[in-house]
Amino acid sequence: MPLMRRPGTVLAMRYAAAIVLTIFFVFPVYWLFIISFKTPDEIFAFPPVWYPKSIQFANYRVLFKDGDAETVWNSLVLAGVSTVIAMALGTICAYSLVRFKTGGENLAVWIISQRMMPPIAIVFPIFLLYVFFGWVDSFHGLIILYTAFSLPYVIWMMRGYIEDLPLELEESALVDGCTRWEVLWKVVFPMVRSGLFATAVFTFVFAWNDFLFALVLTRTEVVTYTVQVTHYFGGQSNFWAKIAAMSVLGTIPVFFAVATLQRYLVRGISMGAVKG
């Protein structure tokens, strides 16, 4: 077999490319994380220090002691719950749009237009609305907000994945006597597992990364990680070590979630079964 065609060579090249890409994408994250172990002189060292002299966890201890780490938990809860709800409501909505053309093109465009609104313009009226409802500085308030903001994204993404599904599976399930809800739950959802996974990851990320609304709609009870981090950038101070440690704390849960849920990236049910 010619060299280029040998599976071994291709694998080696793929591996090399994978490593180069990973280095590029991970290096800044590495730099950020490693700051959480550096002393201030190492953070502001000239020339820059690539690896600290010693690894000590003092910065992390401080975050837990002072209660800053709680903000990571707050963000996890807000982003997590809103993602679950948005995925559920959004996917069924997407199914309706695709299979039944509910609302036609107009509804679909209206839904995505929610994502066009520059946040700056609506942050104050939403604040007014929330003052009226009494939802400022509350968990449920922000969960409702993030869910609503995530819906357009979920609906549109899942539309794409559902459109990809061949109709025969659902039809045969209906013929077999399933109710429409059962078709949704037992046939459609499992089939779009990879789409659900990919969409859920970024639905979570978008809610997780929100700063503007978390800033305006909270005061002391529900401080999120993104708002807390900005407290570390002072005009006369710069808690880089805390910024870095907080980022590590915040990233670990999501990292593990992505790592463990990855098996859904692989197609669940083999399409071959359908063709036969």
Binding site: V26, P28, S96, G103, P118, A148, L167, L265
Partner: protein
């Protein structure tokens, strides 16, 4: 199978299904198919939430854009189209829109192509693939504010490693002022943005690619089609629905880019890297030009809606 075929097929299934439901003993009033409302039940919760949170701000902004609310004066009188007229005369606004377009036009294709290539790379089995993919998603999980601040530190001439690395290759210290020099600010911003969001395209396309019917690609291979032909003729059309939406979403988000630029250059030097979002922030948040910002928001929505509608037609997304 085209979409219209699917529509007909599902129409047939619907009546069959409702007949089946009746046959399996569920009590239904004669002639009324309970499933007729099924499709509406599906959308009601989502629409309700969207309206709850989105309706009032929209109306408020619209009304306010015709008034003269600023920090000092809560002038609720009808000011007609003053704000909108001022928008058209505002050179800084149009420049900011131009900057936004430039960044979107450069970053989007790069993120798409690189993301697609990466997805292809990781599609087949690879030892440790799970670790790689999880690591590659990290840039998106770091809050954009932190990412911007980190890159600012990376770019620092004295305390950051990038100039250090460039110096190694060049053989002498290179004091590149990434966040200050007019020639370097755009590359710096684009680098940071592409770094952070290419993994988004990557993961989504990976999910889409892994859904491609393997039997089709295998059949093509047996028929003797080359790799690229298979890709363009079979794979691409298959993942197109998802890919088109990903492009749309990413494009919309790029149009609203804020944190990275704010952290790196704050729109500077001068207003050279000021995008629409940053200008809106300065006006609406720092200077409390509430009415003007509302008018600006509607202008942006109008522009984006036109763009998105055109894109949807072109990409055949809402048939």
């Amino acid at each position: 199978m085209t979409a219209s075929d699917r529509g007909t097929a599902s129409g047939m299934s619907e009546s069959t299904a409702s007949a089946m439901v009746g046959a399996s003993g569920v009590a239904t009033p004669a002639g009324v198919a309970p499933d007729r409302f099924f499709k509406y039940w599906l959308i009601v919760p989502a629409i309700f939430l969207l309206l709850l949170v989105g309706l009032f701000p929209l109306i408020y902004s619209l009304v306010v854009s015709f008034q003269s609310l600023t920090m000092l004066e809560m002038d609720y009188s009808f000011a007609g189209f003053t704000n909108y007229i001022a928008l058209f005369k505002d050179a800084r606004l149009w420049e900011s829109l131009l900057h936004t377009v430039i960044i979107t036009a450069i970053a989007l294709p790069i993120e798409l192509v690189v993301g697609l290539l990466m997805a292809q790379l990781f599609l087949e089995r690879l030892p440790g693939r799970q670790i790689f993919v999880s690591l590659l998603v990290l840039p998106t999980i770091i809050s954009p504010i932190v990412a911007g601040a980190t890159w600012r530190l990376l770019f620092d001439n004295r305390y950051g490693p990038i100039n250090q690395i460039v110096g190694w290759f060049a053989g002498e210290p290179m004091p590149l002022l990434w966040t200050i020099s007019p020639y370097l600010v755009y590359p710096a911003i684009l680098l940071c943005e592409i770094w952070q969001w290419t993994p988004f395209m990557f993961l989504i396309l990976l999910a889409a690619l892994s859904n491609v019917d393997k039997s089709l690609t295998e059949a093509a291979e047996i028929d003797g089609a080359g790799y690229w032909r298979t890709f363009f003729k079979i794979v691409l059309p298959s993942i197109w629905p998802v890919m088109a939406i990903a492009i749309l979403i990413r494009g919309l988000d790029l149009a609203r880019i804020f944190d990275i630029i704010y952290a790196l250059t704050a729109g500077g030097p001068g207003t050279m890297t000021e995008t629409a979002s940053i200008y809106a922030y300065v006006q609406g948040f720092q200077q409390f030009e509430t009415s003007y910002t509302a008018a600006m928001a509607f202008l942006i929505i109008a522009l984006l809606t036109a763009l998105v509608t055109w894109a949807i037609r072109r990409m055949g997304l809402a048939k």
